[in-house]
Symmetry: C2
Subunit: 503 residues, 2 copies
């Protein structure tokens, strides 16, 4: 048999990608249109597909192909091909590092643990969840040990690297630490304001069908292609970049109309990234994939917050909203709406937090999960530690664990190292936004005119088009000329919120 | 290695069934929610899944397992197990009989042929399609030769057997031949009526959302479980029994509301069969699958025509329709509606034909495709032969080939032997209906009261529960005490239509 070639690697990766796209479609259906009675059959389908995928992703044939490419000077001399080989190596190594019995045990215990968490949260009794949290922590540690981390690093890096490749706990800490004080300071300033925004326009009720139509109109104006994507309704909004030409978003209705709208714009930002990745040119190859969760989140947050909460956006959107959503909006000025959607106020639940305080929710989770992982914090002490940090960072008191350390599902199945990417997304978004404004001096005017082509083009060229060709850190450096820093986000929040609150 | 066991066969069949259920879900999505831009990726997904399925269904391991079971006295002595082995043998032999190059050529030419057919139909020019029809006929003949047929039979049997296992062209001819004259006679009688039904109630317009809600209400009352099934909207209605607990129906709106309602009830009948098959008990095994297309169609036709066009049905449905669909129906009596939905009139397009004339459309197709296959009819002579038969059986003239021999897609990709199952479905439905009325003397009263449990129970017990345990012919004999005959349908049509038309 001849030596496996780069073409052979491409062929096998494409087939795997196609199989994965089937699994993604099946998952999408589960969240959107599947009826309850199909749950058991669906679990069989998902487990069959997961098994087939795992087999392909860990096969020795794939390992041999990657190794052969790594020894091929011509392949490694080509920037694009070598990036694909490098990232394939990363994926293959990660996929093959966990022993099968650990994966099976984590899946089994994780499933029990999630049930225990649900009950504990419903009853607000941490003690019901504590033994499972203990087990999941041990399993997560074992996983992290299998993955490993760079010399001089720590166990947390092994997990963080799964979601934000190459990032370390120390780097995150270095960015988060100064941010915490500045954010807490800003929030304290706002709390003293004698003229906070009036949120009453947000409580105007809107028909769901009209909201859906308006959401699609905004998506279309953002540049999201509804000929290669769609918008549906689910309990929890998400974006799935299923396949080339098939990017599916969901949102939910029932709360404030702005909650649904920002849900749609958030997923629309993810969706523009998925539609902007070079999936057709490099189908199934790493360079056609998203580089990190932090960068993915930066795209959603940029559209949700930097665009969607700007005065320019509402200058454009308000006349359409008055016609398409509810004529009562005729009594609401653009400025009134702009102020209302920028309300910032400490609250207990992360997923309901505003743009500013959200980051503090993330920081305390990062600190607590890191401390648990290295053994500085015992599981039994988690509720007290959580409540103390909420008091310290947000200045409010946790009344029970349901609205405290039991509020998020993540830890119940051992998901650690994931939370920081939410905040990194906000930071990347603001840093890209500053660069964007330099490159597109009329950005605000364009947005006010409903012209998003320049913005989308910049994101496409500087972020989307590169896929995994560069690391997230390199991408940030190339797009903004600087390493990631918390300054742009703090500038954005201070410059937006201080005038609104008159402080 | 030990001898493959029956349990091993069950294991491999289940895995194949799960993979097939994934392919069915992907197909369902393609018809319902997939956006146009995903077409190319979808084609990759479908072809990957089809390849994986074919590999599993034709593997020598599977062949060995079946052979081992056939030699196992204990397995073959068990009625259920031996039925599964017998049907697995049938499937395996059919799957392995076509050489790969023939399958590939048929797929390639079939695809070109469908395009040519579309153009020919649009322009109503048979000559554009003729060379492709010629090629597809040759390929279909070659396929039929590979499949083979029983001694004393003919090439057509090899194709018919794919859809109606065990049926032969001679049997079908024996049933169809006397039917033709009786049907044509009845239709001629009706044409002479001086008091045909007034169809005006069918043209009352209804909101789509209300129709959808009413359709779901009717399905639920029929006993279709919306907790293990759903109803969506597509260009062409269908039913897909995707997996245990996952049966999905579609209908369409835009024409008469009764067209949509009967579409829903038709697919609902298919859906009840899928939900009634013992899919949970015998997951993935042949005895959990539908026995033939004719039997499947009998279930849809029974609900659409025997139930849905009965006076008893409208006695129950009319008050609900008045409330849920359109209050204008208050001016329409049950009898008026009953007469309107039983209009019978010769027309050119099969899919728009009424319950009576539909069968004549099928018969002429059966006769023409059988004649082409054995060489008694040249492709170039098809339009003339078609038009002559339409004149003879339906008494109307074909003005152009678009509404003549180019109207159906089937032949364009070589699908022959399939058409008869539509008419067999009607015949089975009427024969089951006569048996049902003997077993449930109060059936009409129950239907008029909206009580469908007895009817559904009879179908469940006599048809659905058996899956492929018996052949369609055996099933008919067991359920009705007689072999299939055209008499029950003719009695049903004559007894329904003569009083309505006053002839």
């Amino acid at each position: 048999m001849s030596k496996p070639s780069y073409e052979a690697l491409v062929g096998t990766l494409r087939k795997t990608a196609t199989l994965k796209s089937v699994a993604d479609l099946v998952s999408w259906d589960q969240e959107t249109y599947m009826v309850g009675g199909a749950a058991e059959a669906r679990s069989d389908q998902m487990s069959l597909l997961a098994g087939m995928l795992h087999e392909r992703q860990t096969s020795s044939e794939l390992g041999d192909m990657i190794a052969a490419c790594e020894e091929d000077g011509e392949v490694m001399g080509d920037e694009l091909q070598s990036a694909n080989v490098r990232e394939s190596r990363r994926d293959f190594d990660l996929e093959t590092k966990l022993p099968a019995d650990l994966v099976a045990e984590a899946a089994k215990v994780g499933s029990q643990s999630q049930e225990a968490w649900k009950e504990a949260r419903a009853k607000s009794e941490f003690s019901l969840f504590e033994p499972y949290m203990e087990k999941m922590l041990q399993l997560t540690r074992r996983k992290a040990e299998c993955y490993g981390y760079a010399e001089g690093g720590e166990l947390y890096d092994a997990l963080l690297n799964l979601y934000e490749p190459g990032a370390t706990a120390k780097q995150v800490e270095a960015i988060f630490a100064p941010l915490r004080g500045r954010l807490a300071g800003l929030i304290a300033e706002l709390a003293d304001s004698s003229s906070p925004p009036d949120e009453s326009p947000l409580d105007i009720s809107m028909e769901q069908a009209r909201q859906h139509e308006f959401g699609q109109f905004v998506l279309k104006t953002m540049g999201f292609d509804l000929g290669t994507g769609r918008l549906d309704t689910t309990a929890h909004p998400f974006c799935s970049g299923i396949a080339p030409g098939d990017t599916r978003l969901t949102t939910r209705y029932g709360g404030r109309f702005t909650e649904s709208l920002y849900g749609t714009m958030h997923e629309g930002g993810h969706g523009l990234y998925e539609q902007g990745l070079p999936k057709t040119a490099f189908h199934g190859l790493p360079v056609s994939e998203a580089v990190s969760l932090g960068i993915h989140e930066s795209q959603s947050r940029l559209w949700e917050n930097l665009v969607g909460r700007s005065e320019a956006f509402w200058t454009w959107a308000m006349p359409h909203a008055r016609t398409m959503l509810n004529s009562k909006l005729k009594d609401v000025s653009v400025e009134h709406m702009y102020r209302a959607v920028n309300t910032a106020r400490p609250s207990l639940i992360r997923v309901e937090a505003d743009e500013a305080t959200y980051n503090l929710h993330i920081m305390l989770r990062f600190e607590l999960e890191r401390a648990m992982l290295v053994g500085d914090l015992a599981v039994k002490d988690l509720p007290d530690a959580w409540n103390a940090k909420v008091q310290e960072y947000l200045g409010i008191e946790v009344q029970n664990d349901s609205e405290g350390c039991l509020q998020d599902v993540h830890w119940s199945f051992g998901l650690m190292g994931y939370f920081p990417t939410y905040c990194l997304g906000n930071l990347y978004a603001s840093q890209f936004w500053e660069a964007l404004q330099k490159d597109l001096p009329n950005l605000s005017d364009s947005i006010a005119a409903g012209e998003f082509g320049g913005l989308r083009g910049w994101l496409q060229e500087n972020i989307h088009a590169h896929g995994r060709r560069y690391s997230a850190a390199e991408l940030c450096q190339r797009a903004t000329g600087q390493a990631l820093s918390a300054d742009p986000m703090m500038r954005h929040l201070e410059e937006t919120l201080r005038p609104i609150y008159g402080v």
